[in-house]
Amino acid sequence: MSEEPLLRLDAVRVALGGKTLLNALSLEVRQGEIVGLVGASGSGKSLTALAIMGLLPRTAMLDGGLYWRGRPLFDRSPAALRAFRGREVGMVFQEPMTALNPLLTIGAQVGETVRLHTTATRGEAARRAAATLDRVGLGPDASWLARYPHELSGGQRQRVAIAMAITLSPALLIADEPTTALDSTTQAQVLALLKTLVRDSGMSLLLVSHDMAVMAATTTRLAVLEHGRIVEQGLTAEILQGARSPYARRLLDAARLAPRAAEARSEGGVSAPSSDAPLLEVRDVVREISLPRRSPWARPTSRRLVDAVSLTVSRGEIVGLIGESGSGKSSLLRLILALDRPQSGSVRLSGELFSSARGAHLRRLRRQIQIVFQDPYGSFDPEWTVERIVAEPLHLLDVQPTPGERRSKVSAALEAVGLSSHDARRYPHEFSGGQRQRIAIARALISEPALIVCDEAVSALDVLVRAQVLELLEELRARLAVSFLFVSHDLQVVRAIADRIYVMFGGRIVEEGDTRRVFAAPRHAFTAELIRSTLTP
């Protein structure tokens, strides 16, 4: 192709605080093309996007060439750069919660871009905003303009963010992990939308993600980034067929790991669940919340978050619970952990009633069940050392251990999850996301529970780390005979690890069964929809 590409990066190098973060990075984006930039967290993907937008931190050192339609980008004045952002390049970020201003209506935010960069009047801007919202699939209904971000779901917010980026028909759209925070069905819809926009408008798209499955579904060309260097670049189809670099192969394996592990296990028949009384038995639990009254004399109304849910987990079993955000998963978990009490129904642990236990009896039962949370940042008190964090569930013991016993228990738990006993003296902020999740698992293990509930425990991790943590859970199950209730919106992950799965939708369990059976022949329409929308590279 002799034509000058839309965007060309030529041996770009970015250094921050004396450390080189991007090195000899060369990349081209042509008209109407979808280019993927893939790599694990910390590989410099987002930094590349910021460098193109000219939004690097002020202390960053940049050299090498960035060319826009053949002309260098950096000798532009600040005003010209601002016009370039927004008019010529649009950007969509990962987090749909924080990308929108909660105090402004959707219409005002989309219209703002128009009014900043053109001479359009308020009315014209509103008309263009409405037209763009229609283009991103929110429908032609003008009432969208008057809504606020909190009235929208995550997927709708991401559509609004895309609308903001494309109202001025930029030549290039940069999307930084645009679907990572979304449910799988929503993810599939948003990716399809991006593809349609590119096809219809001739816009180019630079898609940044850690997920090879997203790349496989969307991009035509792919650049694989490791530690700030491009280690492989080429047509997506070819890289998927046979990646040359070991790093690209690792990323691919991590994204594909899921089904393979599940099949290996079901063929090998590792630890078939035993048939005694179930470890956890949830029967017909209901959780309602009362909604605020519209007026003092209005009839009180309530909403069922969990509607007559029953499920069981046997000893040594890994059970998956799938549901999208808002399906009532988290409310159900709080009932299972006896953090909330159900309005009716019961939760039993090894046959004993847990949901209405009190005092010493409750504490004794609590020892059997612990939890690992999603967020590797909010799960720990930042003021506490790892030793204190991991030892916290020891509070459940009737006789408190001596300081020596406590230390040796903490060391044992840390070693069980692949950390060292020296880590006990450090603070949580000194660890990476994957290591923090190991600390969370160590905390869950220390009271020697029979069941660990994992609430989206790997959703915030990138694919490589995710694979490691899943392996760790498998290993703990085999070695310590712990059961897991694994809650996630990510079908692939659940498929990789669970023996049996439950599918939750609108507060109810709509499907349950052996993992392979459910994937091969889903009975409920929602499950079928979920499976259809799951991406695999």
């Binding site: 609590r366 949370f373 799960s379 720990f380 964090i389 916290e392 569930p393 509070h395 459940l396």
Partner: protein
């Protein structure tokens, strides 16, 4: 040393605050003259080597009175703020930890307390206890309770939403223990900032109360008192009003700089 946002303000605030606290501490053991010793012959003297800041209309040494006034102001303000924090923080923690009904009860009680200006409260207490430093301490202290309760509750609620509080509940810990072990340590920096700000407000409030004769009683000295005495003499000896006024302004400014600097440090 790392220089961060609010560095200069923080430093200036820390120096001024330390200086005033040191003077107040010194005044408990030593002042140049007895601040209450009347010597009419030496009345209304300008600053000199003997009396650095001159004397007042009764011939009392102005510097000694200023130092003694610092002692009175600081002790009243400190005790008042400690009463406010001592009652307000536990109430705020309770409101943050407990179900909606308790929360509502505590916070509406707070609103009720908030509705009375501290001056009205002080007059009320004077009617019961008679005037004195105790009145000022109780009135300003009570006025501080809802402030601390609100700040604690708001900051505490944010901590309660974090997963580590759920993990602590799953570890069988009671709400009181979680408040003590997790919530309080994580909001302590917010409270320290609030403490310095409230301390400066209490200094002003104390000066106001004793100016009106509701606080520290003569012959003991206080800044508000000195201002009140100087009022009739402003034409004759303006420095008598200026000196305690400047002292109040400097100390309050110092505390506010310190509070602002602490807040900036917390945010970096």
């Amino acid at each position: 040393m790392r220089i961060d946002r609010g560095g200069a303000g923080f430093f200036a605030g820390a120096v001024i605050t330390t200086l005033f606290l040191a003077v107040a501490a010194l005044a408990t053991v030593w002042t140049p003259y007895d601040p209450a010793a009347i010597a009419i012959v030496h009345k209304l003297q300008p600053p000199s080597a003997l009396h650095w800041l001159g004397t007042d209309q009764l011939g009392r040494d102005e510097l000694s009175r200023l130092m003694a006034g610092a002692k009175a102001s600081v002790s009243v303000a400190l005790l008042a703020v400690l009463i406010g924090a001592g009652c307000g923080v536990p109430l705020g923690l309770l409101a943050a930890a407990r179900p909606r009904t308790v929360d509502e009860l505590v916070m509406r009680g707070n609103d009720l307390l908030f509705a009375f200006p501290s001056l009205l409260l002080a007059i009320l207490i004077t009617a019961v206890l008679g005037p004195g430093a105790r009145v000022a301490i109780v009135a300003i202290g009570v006025f501080n309770v809802p402030v601390f309760a609100r700040v604690t509750r708001a900051a505490g609620l944010a901590i309660w939403t974090l997963d580590f509080c759920l993990a602590a509940r799953a570890a069988g810990k009671s709400a009181a223990l979680i408040s003590w072990e997790h919530v309080l340590p994580n909001i302590v920096s917010v409270l320290v900032v609030q403490l310095t700000i409230q301390f400066s407000l209490a200094i002003v409030a104390e000066a106001g109360l004793s100016y009106l004769g509701l606080g520290v009683q003569p012959p003991a000295s206080s800044w508000g008192h000195m201002l009140g005495d100087a009022q009739t003499l402003t034409a004759l000896a303006p420095s008598l009003a200026v000196i305690p006024g400047v002292a109040i302004v400097c100390f309050v400014l110092g505390l506010n700089l310190l509070g602002g600097g602490l807040r900036a440090r917390r945010e970096t």
